[in-house]
């Protein structure tokens, strides 16, 4: 079980090369196959996630949630997706057409790219990048621009305001996000996510770096634009903010990308702070799925419990609380590492 997926991949490559294909092309084919799998998993996952989110919100709000289509309403999201697909794609006349049209596509591309470096099991990262963590942070930062494109392209005051809020928020929260991960990097001495997972075989970084985990968790919620930090969307104030003018599939793409981001960030959190794919008995790739889903449930719990924070509070919280805390964490970690080295352990 443990090596099931890897074995399939190796079997495929050896079969292809055995048929006289150049190894380079076989690898390329494998890469394409891997991306295809990721895309399939992402889309399927989002369907499940939206259903799960509804069920969780229903549970929190003492409702049933979707329960008509299929057992426990599992086909509800499929029906909704079909509805969105068949809806008219309205592009308002005064929009900046190209930006308006491409923004959701770029958003989803960026979201899917995040999966490249996450180890989805032992030796199961698509690209085993030496600076994998940095890849995650820097590519994640690009989603800001996609929301900015959506807000600007819509040519709507609500949208622009939502986009501006989102940009200000993401730029502010990027800093504590990166800083909180630095503590882990200092301990392991690597940016490679596989190495970071391996370094947690005895104790999770969640235990060693509780402050960093807390700051990362909050900053990640903000990066994901999820409640209580869902500023760019903020339907009660900005009437869906940057996404106000979007309809049908383009709107659904934003939705898709947001959930894709959610899975990616949760998976990274599991990887960096909760031992990644490591776990007893079950195969590694099942462990990471379990951990990711548990973290996502916490995100959902937060969203459905908390009111939305105010924009200026949000900014001052990042600059006056989170960044100092993450800096303190770096200092403490540095002292700790020196101390342990000094003790000769």
């Amino acid at each position: 079980m443990e090596r099931l997926i890897l074995d399939i991949a190796h079997l495929l490559v050896s079969w292809l090369t055995g048929r006289g294909m150049a190894p380079v092309w076989a690898d390329l084919l494998l890469l394409l196959l891997q991306w295809g799998t990721v895309l399939a998993i992402v889309t399927l996952n989002v369907l499940i996630l939206i259903w799960l989110e509804r069920k969780v919100s229903g549970f929190i709000q003492e409702r049933l949630g979707p329960n008509r289509l299929g057992p426990f309403g599992v086909f509800q999201t499929i029906a909704d997706t079909l509805k969105l697909l068949t809806k008219e794609d309205i592009i308002p006349t005064q929009t900046d057409r190209w930006i308006f049209k491409t923004a959701p596509m770029f958003f989803i591309i960026v979201a899917v790219m995040l999966y490249a470096v996450i180890p989805m099991g032992q030796d199961m990262a698509i690209v085993d990048l030496s600076a994998g963590l940095l890849f995650f942070i820097s590519v994640g930062a690009l989603s800001t621009i996609c929301i900015l494109m959506a807000g600007w392209g819509s040519n709507n005051k609500w949208s622009l305001l939502g986009a501006m809020r989102s940009v200000a928020q993401m730029i502010s929260y990027e800093i504590p996000l990166a800083f909180s991960l630095l503590g882990v990097v200092m301990i392991t001495g690597t940016l490679n996510l596989g190495e970071i997972v391996k370094a947690q075989d005895k104790v999770w970084f969640f235990v060693l770096q509780p402050l960093a985990f807390l700051t990362y968790f909050i900053a990640a919620t903000a990066e994901l634009n999820r409640g209580p930090f869902d500023m760019p969307e903020a339907e009660q104030e900005l009437t869906a903010g940057a996404y106000t003018e979007y309809t049908g599939m383009r709107w659904a793409l934003f939705f898709l990308a947001e959930y894709t981001n959610l899975v990616a960030v949760s998976a990274l959190m599991a990887t960096v702070f909760f031992g990644g794919w490591q776990g007893p008995l079950l195969p590694s790739w099942i462990w990471i799925i379990i951990k990711t889903y548990l973290i996502m449930l916490v995100f959902m719990w937060l969203k459905w419990t908390f009111p939305r924070i105010r924009m200026d509070h949000l900014m001052s919280f990042s600059w006056k609380v989170l960044i100092p805390i993450s800096l303190i964490n770096i200092v403490i970690t540095g002292i700790g590492i020196k101390f342990i080295q000094g003790m000769g352990w």
């Binding site: 709000q61 209580p228 009660q236 104030e237 459905w304 419990t305 908390f306 924070i309």
Partner: protein
């Protein structure tokens, strides 16, 4: 400061957080509110004109549609105004029934206030809990008149039907659960740090400003002014009941929330006393078949509705239809201070301010 362009942003008339067809036009400098202009009339039905072509009794359902979130209260105000005009005595039992239903309506309206404030601030779950509990009160209304939301249960001279079997125990059940419900809202909504940060010190309504602009009801009491018509100018049998006036100290959004939460409990207290003391007997007083008040008689009757002072000015020309009916709508007048409490705040504060001023547009626009 960096010079930036001011721009206007239209909150409503189609907007998730305006509680109906309200249009607030905000002049913004970035996220800071420079001014707000309120435009009304999107649900204007000219109720006052309609009244002139309806008999006194026919108008009752229209009154119920004024403040449709607490429909028994505007009905009560209207029928009491007509009773005053006619000089009709209302039987004791009917008075008690009116008090019970009026206070239950107030509780229902305040519950919806708490829930809608929560959802306006982004806490979706808060609404559902409040709606769940409001449902129990709606069921009580259904027991009395068959109508849940806009019950035209009040009649000139009494109420339309006697209380059904089991109503009193059902009311007692709801009332005894009220403290538990309020505690739950406190935990989920009032106790939340983010909500407190968004409400404390936001939209401060100074008592002087509130009185000058005629703000009444919980909004006025949240500013620390002890003025409640149930105590200041008791109508019906309210002087018999023992209850406290919850008061705020800062006049901000948080006070407007906590005052209403406490009022839920106080209304529960009044209903409990009414339920305990309710006598047996008639439910309709002696009312003429055709209601024709003497010519030239006029009356201004005001009650404490869920939103504030709800007044009915009635003028009779001796016919069976009123010559003039005017509704002093608290929602309409309370909304006047929205620009004053929103200036200098943030965009998100406007939403909190609208939610805590608690206008019902059906009443404001009439």
């Amino acid at each position: 400061m960096l010079q930036t362009d001011e721009y206007t942003i239209n909150i409503g008339p189609q907007h998730p957080s305006t509680h109906g067809g309200l249009h607030a036009e905000a002049l913004m400098d970035g996220e800071i509110v420079k001014d707000v202009a309120v435009h009304l009339g999107y649900v204007h039905r000219s109720v006052e004109k309609i009244a002139e072509s309806r008999t006194y009794t026919q108008f009752i359902p229209y009154a119920a549609r004024l403040d449709y979130l607490a429909s028994n209260l505007p009905c009560l105000g209207y029928v009491q105004a007509v009773e005053k005009l006619l000089g009709v005595e209302v039987p004791e039992r009917a008075e008690y029934i009116r008090v019970i239903l009026g206070e239950l309506s107030r509780i229902a309206a305040h519950m919806l206030f708490v829930g809608s404030l929560a959802i306006d601030l982004g806490a979706t779950t808060g609404l559902v809990y409040c709606l769940r509990d409001r449902e129990r009160i709606m069921n009580l209304f259904e027991m009395t008149s068959g109508q849940r939301l806009i019950a035209a249960y009040m009649r000139i001279g009494g109420v339309s039907a006697d209380l059904p079997e089991g109503f009193i125990t059902a009311v007692e059940g709801v009332i005894s659960d009220l403290p538990k419900m309020v505690k739950e809202y406190d935990g989920l909504i009032t106790g939340n740090e983010i909500l407190q940060a968004r409400c404390r010190g936001i939209g401060i309504l100074k008592p002087e400003l509130a009185v000058a602009y005629g703000v009444t009801g919980p909004n006025l009491r949240a500013s620390g002014v002890p003025y409640d018509l149930r105590k200041a100018d008791p109508y019906g049998i309210y002087s018999r009941f023992d209850f406290d006036l919850p008061l705020g100290s800062r006049g901000d959004c948080l006070d407007r929330l906590t005052v209403r939460l406490e009022e839920i409990e106080q209304s529960g207290r009044i209903s409990a006393q009414a339920v305990k003391d309710i006598p047996e007997g008639e439910i309709m007083g002696k009312v003429p078949k055709v209601i024709k008040p003497a010519q030239g008689r006029e009356v201004y009757h005001r009650i404490e509705s869920a939103k504030g002072e709800l007044g009915f000015y009635l003028l009779s020309d001796g016919s069976e239809k009123p010559a003039r009916l005017h509704v002093r709508a608290p929602s309409f007048i309370n909304l006047m201070v929205l620009p004053h409490i929103s200036r200098g705040g943030k965009l998100q504060d406007i939403i909190a301010n609208i939610a805590t001023l608690d206008p019902v547009l059906g009443e404001a626009d009439r």
